[in-house]
């Protein structure tokens, strides 16, 4: 009885909800609101600041738009996988200028310049001067002015149609004719002299144009939309994409990488580079502040008091220890005899038999119990005075049987 209920805590009244203090209920002023919410506000602000800092750190995300490895809505994994598995096309990616150049030189190859605008003017000039491999196709997606000039001179960008526009092919290019109407909005072009134009708009400008010199083909598309995972299954997009990209055995995707493709760009900065130089002095000052805080916290308000407490031993410790000893020694016989002894005593009491000096008379007890329960007395003889159980299961059973017998004897 040494533990007692703690007295009601004397909490700061401002921390209590207003309903607990009827007299103070109307006084939920701005000040109390501020006191109640300030720490939560600080916590929210801290989370926002840290979040903004994390968001500001440049990430080197691996999957951009039109990445053939990306399953995002803007990726092109779907078309790439189908070309590989169904059309038997081998595809790879090219990032650097030399990789692109190799792809241009290769025979039987389709090169997709997904983002021609990511290449510098010099790179485009150098790439355009490369003698192209036989049986090859170069697909330009939404090229800018310089790329158009370099790879398809004579073609000029004209106008812009919403990308979701569905257009009919209306041309002889077999891929387009097979595919039928597709989502080909975006940029549209005035054709050069020998070009085949497809998907015209109302003013006679074309969203797709094809120029063939020998077996080397250049195809210009005004839109990237139809290749993406998200739109591939709409209209004739898929058929057109497979037709355009699956014509040759090799397929090379241009994969722009800002860091590598544009070596002139500044390197990624660590957060330390972004901090102004003066703040290292600020950090030193913070160190001094921390030292002062250590001195503040280190000084205790008086010494720790330790107390000699009385020893605490559970009274049942010896009994439980004895139980463990029985268990370790597998003292089934002893345990059974103890249980039987107790059961005999209680049964005798319940039946009104005398049990002087501990144990009642065996014959009288079995007879009386048998009469009460209507069971054969040999049965009870076996239960109350039988041999020691041979295994643990038998001991458990004996204990349960004794319990049942006692319970039945006590029933009126």
């Amino acid at each position: 009885m040494t533990t007692t209920a703690p007295p009601p805590a004397t909490a700061d009244p401002a921390e209590l909800p207003a309903v607990d203090r009827p007299d103070a209920a109307p006084r939920t002023t701005l000040r109390t609101l501020w006191r109640r919410w300030r720490w939560r506000l600080v916590a929210v602000l801290a989370v926002l600041v840290v979040g903004a800092m994390v968001a500001g750190i440049p990430t080197s995300s691996s999957s951009g738009p039109l990445d053939p490895r990306s399953g995002d809505p803007s990726g092109t994994r779907a078309v790439d996988q189908i070309l590989r598995n169904t059309y038997g096309v081998t595809s790879r990616t090219a990032t650097t200028e030399s990789e692109l150049a190799a792809a241009l030189r290769a025979d039987d190859t389709t090169l997709v310049l997904t983002f021609p605008a990511e290449l510098t003017e010099q790179e485009i000039t150098r790439l355009a001067a490369i003698p192209r491999g036989a049986n090859s196709r170069l697909v330009l997606l939404d090229p800018d002015h310089s790329a158009l000039n370099a790879f398809a001179p004579g073609v000029s960008g004209a106008s812009y149609v919403p990308e979701s526009a569905v257009v009919a092919p209306a041309c002889t290019l077999p891929e387009a004719a097979n595919a039928g109407a597709a989502e080909l909005g975006g940029e549209s072009y005035h054709l050069g002299a020998h070009d085949v134009g497809c998907y015209p708009d109302a003013d006679g400008r074309h969203s797709v144009l094809s120029r063939t010199t020998d077996s080397r083909q250049v195809i210009v598309l005004g839109s990237r939309r139809m290749f993406t995972n998200e739109r591939l299954d709409h209209e004739g997009n898929a058929a057109l994409a497979f037709g355009l990209l699956g014509a040759h055995h090799q397929l090379v995707w241009q994969l722009p990488d800002h860091a590598v493709a544009t070596p002139d760009a500044p390197h990624d900065k660590t957060i330390g580079d972004l901090v102004p130089a003066g703040w290292s002095w600020g950090a030193l000052q913070l160190l001094f502040a921390a030292l002062l805080a250590v001195v503040w916290r280190a000084r205790r308000l008086g010494p720790v008091l330790s107390e000699r407490l009385p020893a605490v031993v559970r009274a049942s410790e010896t009994t439980e220890g004895r139980a463990r000893l029985y268990h370790r020694a597998n003292a089934r016989g002893h345990a059974a005899e103890t249980l039987r002894h107790a059961a005999r005593r209680r049964t005798a009491t319940a039946l009104g038999l005398p049990h002087t000096s501990g144990d009642p008379d065996p014959a009288a007890l079995t007879e009386a119990a048998a009469a009460r329960l209507g069971r054969p007395s040999a049965d009870l003889q076996q239960l109350l005075y039988g041999p020691a159980p041979s295994d643990d299961a038998a001991l458990l059973r004996l204990a349960d049987d004794l319990d049942d017998m006692e319970w039945q004897v006590r029933q009126p």
Binding site: T2, G302, L305, P310, A315, S316
Partner: protein
């Protein structure tokens, strides 16, 4: 010397100044030097701690489980005002659980030459004397940046008395005592009852108590009333040895025994008997004898407050001989001890003839409810069966010892802690009604 969080905060805010305006040693100096100067000024201007006067007052004792307040009067004889954090330190068991940190700290402002009172609330969790530690005072300067700190002595003691939780049983036992006392018409006649007075017969009275001789002298039928004997001697003997240290439920056995002794004492005092107390293990720990009825309970609780179970074997021979010396005439001797077979057989049995020849002896022992729990829990593993068997063995041993003592004419009580006190009181009433005191 001690700093405050404010100092560290100012230094941390100074980092903004250093980082934005003056990123150099100059900037750090601009922040730190004035701060250090302010700290020194604060230390100089803080009120001196060692000249403070401390005075204690408050309750010297409390029942275990109740709260008590102790006042500390802080006097500031200096000419500077004192702004201080004060820790009134007490040993851990003096506090209500979990409050030691908050309840011991006080913030106080004492103007120059005045005194202020601070109140500390204690709720001891342990019986016995609780002493205060040193009072630590941290006197802050006017800027609140730094302060002087020192420990001062202001000793005080709060004695936690036994809770006497069984006093709720007292009214019903007193009612039964009054029934015995001849004040009501229900009478129990025994060989030890004393003739009290004659009164008129009322329907319901036992016809055997009609005094025919007296009725013949009067015109009405008179009955004799009886009252139980008074002015008997009761000696309560507490065993504070090893067996009393075992925890039963939440508290040691000794606490339950103290509770039972207090209920018996209160009851017997009301019944007009004299009660003495002896606490003994290997030697005498406490003895209270010959107190007047009005002061007996306070004297007992005071003596009991300091009793602690000792982890040594009780010397029952010495205990019995001390008890015999304290009870020269016929008494009711109540032994509150264990029922360990070997201890009883070695220590008590040889002394029994002496004890029983002259005195009525009751032996009360606190049983462990955990044994019943072991027996009655559903058994699923063989480990449980062994637990049951061990518990049955312990119970059988205790019962055998109890039967042995009963054969020697001792009344034996073996009851769990919550019912030992009422059981002992009932035994006392039964003995009194039977006139065996």
């Amino acid at each position: 010397m001690a700093l405050t969080g404010r100092t560290a905060l100012i230094a941390a805010l100074g980092a903004l100044l250093v980082g934005l305006v003056l990123p150099s040693w100059t900037g750090i100096g601009v922040v730190m030097l004035p701060l250090l100067a302010a700290i020194v000024a604060d230390l100089v201007l803080a009120a001196p701690v060692r000249r403070l006067t401390l005075e204690r007052s408050g309750d010297p004792s409390v029942r275990l489980g109740e709260a008590v307040t102790v006042d500390l009067l802080v006097g500031n004889p200096s000419r500077r005002p004192l702004r201080a954090r004060i820790r009134d330190a007490w040993y851990p068991s003096a506090w209500a659980p979990g409050t030691s940190l908050t309840a011991s700290r006080h913030s106080v402002t004492v103007p120059a030459g005045e005194r202020r009172r601070i109140t500390t609330r204690l709720a001891p969790t342990r019986r016995g004397d609780h002493r205060s530690g040193r009072v630590t005072v941290r006197s802050l300067g006017p800027l609140g940046l730094a302060g002087r700190q020192a420990g001062l002595d202001a000793p005080w003691r709060v004695r936690a008395l036994p809770p006497f939780a069984s006093r709720k049983h007292l009214p019903s036992r007193l009612a039964r005592l009054r029934e015995l006392d001849g004040r009501t018409s229900v009478l129990t006649r025994g060989q030890g009852t004393e003739f009290d007075s004659l009164r008129e017969y009322l329907p319901g009275d036992d016809v055997r108590s009609i005094d025919w001789r007296a009725s013949a002298r009067r015109s009405v039928v008179a009955v004799r009333t009886w009252r139980p004997e008074r002015d008997r001697h009761v000696l309560v003997v507490l065993d504070t040895g090893r067996t009393s240290a075992g925890r039963v439920g939440d508290a040691p056995r000794l606490d339950a025994a103290l509770d039972a002794a207090l209920l018996l004492t209160a009851l017997a005092t009301k019944a007009g008997d004299r009660v003495d107390l002896l606490a003994h293990d290997r030697q005498r720990r406490a003895a209270v004898a010959g107190r007047s009825p009005s002061e007996i309970l306070p004297a007992f609780t005071d003596a009991m407050a300091l009793l602690e179970p000792a982890l040594i074997e009780t010397d029952l021979r010495a205990m019995v001989s001390t008890a015999l010396r304290m009870a020269p005439h016929r008494s009711l001797i109540v032994l509150l001890t264990g029922l360990d077979a070997h201890q009883i057989e070695d220590g008590l049995l040889p002394q029994l003839p002496l004890l029983v020849k002259r005195h009525e002896v009751v032996l009360a022992s606190v049983a462990d409810p955990r044994l019943d729990e072991l027996v009655n829990t559903p058994r699923t593993t063989v480990r449980d069966v062994y637990g049951t068997a061990a518990a049955e063995q312990t119970r059988a041993d205790r019962r055998r010892t109890a039967e042995l003592l009963t054969r020697h004419g001792i009344t034996v009580l073996d009851a769990p802690p919550e019912s030992i006190a009422p059981a002992l009181a009932d035994t006392y009433l039964t003995l009194k009604a039977a006139g065996r005191l």
